[in-house]
């Protein structure tokens, strides 16, 4: 059930079990946007998306209309639309809901993107762990083909759009767009050297648009209701509403669709029902790769790209993780770095070796084997990963570590004094 503070756009069909069928989807304004788009000029579609100020919902927040406009209009090679459904950022669980409850909105958004950039083929790259969603998507795709919403001559026009799903094999790295393309081509999922960017040389070396599920699912709403309408839901530079995944120590975790610029304090207190098990200590604002905010920062920030960036962090993919004051931040850092050490693709040195070093030292440190110089070494190691890797995974591993050492250095000092972890002892029976 929708929370009263939510503005439901992408999630508007989440409570309607029939929306996952074509019949149900058509009954709730489904495919009206595509019918409209088929009558529009491709440039006009891109203009509408630009007007909406829609920014990529996958984490980087790149303006979607601008990204589409980079695709060369005339290309001797085929063009592709790829949906990044490799949702694997810890703390993020929104795309799965779209694909589960409203798969046709994604299909419709991709077809519209195809018309806009002149692509006749699309791929949905779904993370391997979302096996059940593949079945849902494949069923939806089959229905859409039967009804002429996919395939040759869309709804009797001269536009074609073929779509298929592709399963990832369980690598976080394949959420990085160029690694995703490599994986989609059947190769090892390692990032590519950029430039060239996918807009000029993407899938199979052809011009390619890659967008997140939520981004593409927003497109039909923008086309149907107009870019202006979407823009006004949010902020001038970041239009619309955004799915926010609230998790961690809150009473009501869940995925909530909120306008951009929504205050974090209200998210935690009013929607989340307050911090569970203690007072607020920290907040991960946008998935595990974003630098953490302390309680003071978190309670004063609004959930939009620029406000969070002012605090040196990112809105990211919208995965808000609330951390209470009974949490050991050393252990928290260790858990995050464990993930990145495991998920590093191993291609380049700082990420592969640095994450390993950090996890080993953090583990020793947390178990009580820390030495005072370890803190500075870990900080320096993380700093040495930052900005020196081939893709953003290195940064994703380094940033939370750096922010935790900066903001909770005292906890590290405490570990040196009271070994092993003083926090675990204190709250062992809480």
């Amino acid at each position: 059930m929708a929370h009263p503070l939510e503005i439901r756009v992408v999630s508007k069909r989440f409570d309607d079990p029939s929306a996952a069928t074509l019949k149900g989807y058509l009954a709730s304004d489904g495919y009206k946007a595509l019918e409209k788009a088929l009558k529009m000029k491709p440039e006009a579609i891109i203009e509408e998306v630009k007007t909406s100020a829609l920014r990529g919902r996958g984490g980087a927040g790149f303006p979607t209309g601008l990204k589409w406009s980079f695709i060369p209009r005339q290309s001797p090679k085929p063009k592709y639309v790829v949906c990044n459904a490799d949702e694997s950022e810890p703390g993020t669980c929104k795309d799965r809901l779209i694909m589960q409850f409203d798969p046709f909105s994604l299909l419709e958004g991709m077809a519209i993107a195809g018309i806009a950039i002149g692509a006749e083929r699309g791929f949905i790259y779904v993370r391997g762990e979302y096996r059940y969603l593949i079945d849902i998507l494949d069923r939806a795709i089959a229905e859409a083909y039967d009804a002429g919403y996919l395939g040759k001559k869309l709804r009797g026009t001269n536009f074609h759009f073929d779509l298929m799903t592709h399963t990832g094999a369980g690598a976080y790295e394949c959420g990085e767009e160029s690694a995703l393309l490599e994986s989609l081509e059947g190769k090892r999922g390692i990032p590519r050297i950029k430039p060239p960017f996918p807009a000029t040389s993407g899938l199979y070396g052809c011009p390619t648009v890659i967008n997140n599920v939520e981004t593409l699912a927003s497109v039909p709403h923008i086309i149907l209701n107009g870019g202006e309408w979407f823009l006004k839901l949010g902020l001038p530079k970041a239009g619309g509403v955004k799915l926010t995944c609230l998790s961690g120590h809150v009473h009501n975790p869940g995925v909530y669709e909120l306008p951009l610029g929504f205050p974090m304090r209200r998210l935690i207190e009013e929607i989340g029902g307050g911090v569970q098990g203690g007072a607020l200590k920290a907040v991960v604002p946008g998935g595990s790769s974003t630098p953490l905010l302390n309680a003071e920062e978190a309670l004063g920030v609004n959930l939009d790209f620029d406000s969070v960036a002012k605090l040196g962090s990112f809105l990211g993919s919208g995965g808000v993780v609330v951390v209470n004051d009974r949490t050991c931040m050393v252990k928290f850092a260790k858990r995050i770095i464990h993930f990145y050490r495991h998920e590093s693709c191993g291609w380049c040195v700082p990420c592969r070796e640095g994450t390993n070093w950090l996890e080993l030292t953090l583990t020793r440190f947390h178990l009580g084997g820390g030495r005072s110089e370890d803190i500075d070494v870990m900080f320096d190691v993380a700093q040495s990963i930052l900005g020196r890797t081939l893709c953003a995974l290195g940064d994703a591993a380094a940033m939370p570590t750096i922010s935790i050492i900066q903001k909770w250095r005292q906890e590290f000092e405490d570990h040196l004094a009271g070994r092993p972890c003083p926090y675990e002892r204190e709250f062992a029976h809480a």
Partner: protein, 766 residues
Amino acid sequence: MPENNSVHLTIDGRAITVPAGTLLIEACRAVNIEVPCFCYYPNLSVQAACRMCLVEIEKMPKLQTACTVPVAEGMVVRTDTPTVHKARKTTNEFLLTNHPLDCPVCDKGGECELQDMTLTYGTGTGRFDEPKRHRDEQQWSPVVFYDRPRCILCYRCVRVCGEGMDVWALGVGNRAILSTILPNAGDHLECEECGMCIDICPVGALTSGAYRYKTRPWEMKHVGAICTFCGDGCRTTLGVRNDRIIRGDNRDASGINGEFLCIKGRYGFDFTQHAERLKTPLARIDGELKPVSWAQALETVARRWRAIQQQGGRFGVIGSTRALNEESYQLQRLARQVLGTNNIDHHRSADLPTLYDALAGTSATGSAPPLAAAASLKTASAVLLVGGDPTYEHPLLAWNVRWGYRLSGTRLYVLHHREIKLRRQAHRMAVVAEGAEGAAVRYLAGQGGAVAARLSAVGPAEEKRYPQLPPPDPQPISGGLEEFKAELEKESNVVIIFGSELRGDDIRALVALGGRLAGQTRYIGLADHSNSHGAADMGLYPDLLPGYESVSDAAARGRFEALWGARLPAEAGLNQREMAEALDRGELAALYVVGANPLRLDPVNPANLRRSFLVVQDLFLTETAKEADIVLPALAAYEKTGTLTNTCGEVQATRRAAAWPGGKSDLEIIHALARLMGVDFGRPDPDRVFAEIRAHVKGYNVSVVQLAAGRSALAVPLNGAVPHRSAPHLIRSNHDTLFSDGTLGRYSHAINEVMEKRLLLPGQAR
């Protein structure tokens, strides 16, 4: 913007100008600014993996990898700032986190790039104080070992195997900290065993089964010798300790081959130390070969030869395709001047006299020589390959053809009776029936009707999109030889490589075809062994003097007669097969075999053989040597100094690397025999003999400075018409592969071990 294709930029305050498209790291190298790197390797695809080459570029927020950024106009680069130094230090430290510091026992210690980088750019101490991950060493083939902890994952091996060798035997497995290089076949390599992966490894992760734990690099002296196996003439820099060869590689890129070597050049040298190597002369006493002294053996030979001469018996001489130019030259002098016979021949595998004769009749002899050096294949716009199988028989030429395909856009045309491996680089591949190559060439030259051919081609342009992936197999296309001809005729400045499938008149047709193509056509005739080409040039023919001059040409003969102060026979002699037939009939009183095994090619009834006096000088007791009356132990090419001519006609100097106490060089033996026969050839000094060759053999007036500097010089003995009695049936290539080689390879422990353990036979390797 500049008008031409050059770009101006500033590196560390120095204004420099380089061609557009140059990678920043190469621009830095051009002005001697070292940017450290591991994964970057010239002429292989870029990886951006090691992050060692990070530099500061103005207006870019982050440090950039110099190996991936092309230069741009006005770019301002700094490689010498505290930020850059810090980045190098930490990257180096990262590389060492799991690298075992076992340098004192590591083969690479002393010539390790990681050691060098750590000394130059690293920190004195490491801060990493956690357990390292150990993994046991793996053996991937008899000659390739992999030590995972030492590996820094620069992926050079993967790329040189795939992109360079087109073998694709190596890949990357697992991810993150567990990433590892692994053979695509699982636990072993299915490859050409070239060892390039070991050679290119910057650390001691890949080590050579033939070299590991034997010595330290600084304990060897490193001698640049020319490989004695196939005809390509690669320089193999031999690591020698106590007069024994321990290692072969060409890491210093000193020869025409750059750093390339195949299995034979890298590991094959160990035949020199084989237990069966002859240590003393042998003489047949009471029907058995028994050790005798050098004096005894040589005197016996001279005594018997003199007796045969007095009785008017006929002599025959078979020369070597591996002996040095100086030795072959003196051998034919011995035959013609001392033994008074033109019955001299060698194992022919390329019909060079016919090629030169055909070229003499064309205008091709104009400005530039119509022969192509091996390196010219790297930049040729088009290459036509007829017959042969360079991948297995001439690995350097194949490496260069692939290089041209990858980096220069060379269009390769292959005309062959088999789908040879170079089809994967072929712009057009025509497969004709076995033996139909000659007819196909005649058709291409406009001299005959079309020949049935299966045509295939790799796709247009697209196929080069991913240098990291194997080129796709060519797909059948229609058009047959007509389409092949039409495409070929669009080309200019073509290099034509032909195998032993073409001989005699086929070669004349090939030259006619070359004459029809635009620009200058150049030729490479594939010859089997390290000095097959030199043996032909030096006149090991019954009817040709050195430099392809006829023995019956009074002027040419007169020049040599004046030079040596002797009368030379004017009648053409017997060729190799005719000599064998004469032996069988008992009409050849004496046969002198130098570094050859003619009885393998032309068997003679042993009972008939006993009636003649057979002298063999060789390294081993070959099939021929076993039948000999006198066997003289000779030195291997690695134990001699002199010159060799490769299959392209490039003369190179080779230097003595090792010693073999019991043996004498062919040159010493020939000179000693001449003296005992009453003719003084002078001191057996290769330099003196080469001076004579330079002065008197057509095409050999090459620069000795160039040779001394380790470079090659193309010898072009074009000499007008070559009045040669064509004998196509004598053009017989052994078709030795990477793993077999006439009489030497079978005495190489390393090659034998690889052969025994291979799961695939050479022809099946893909």
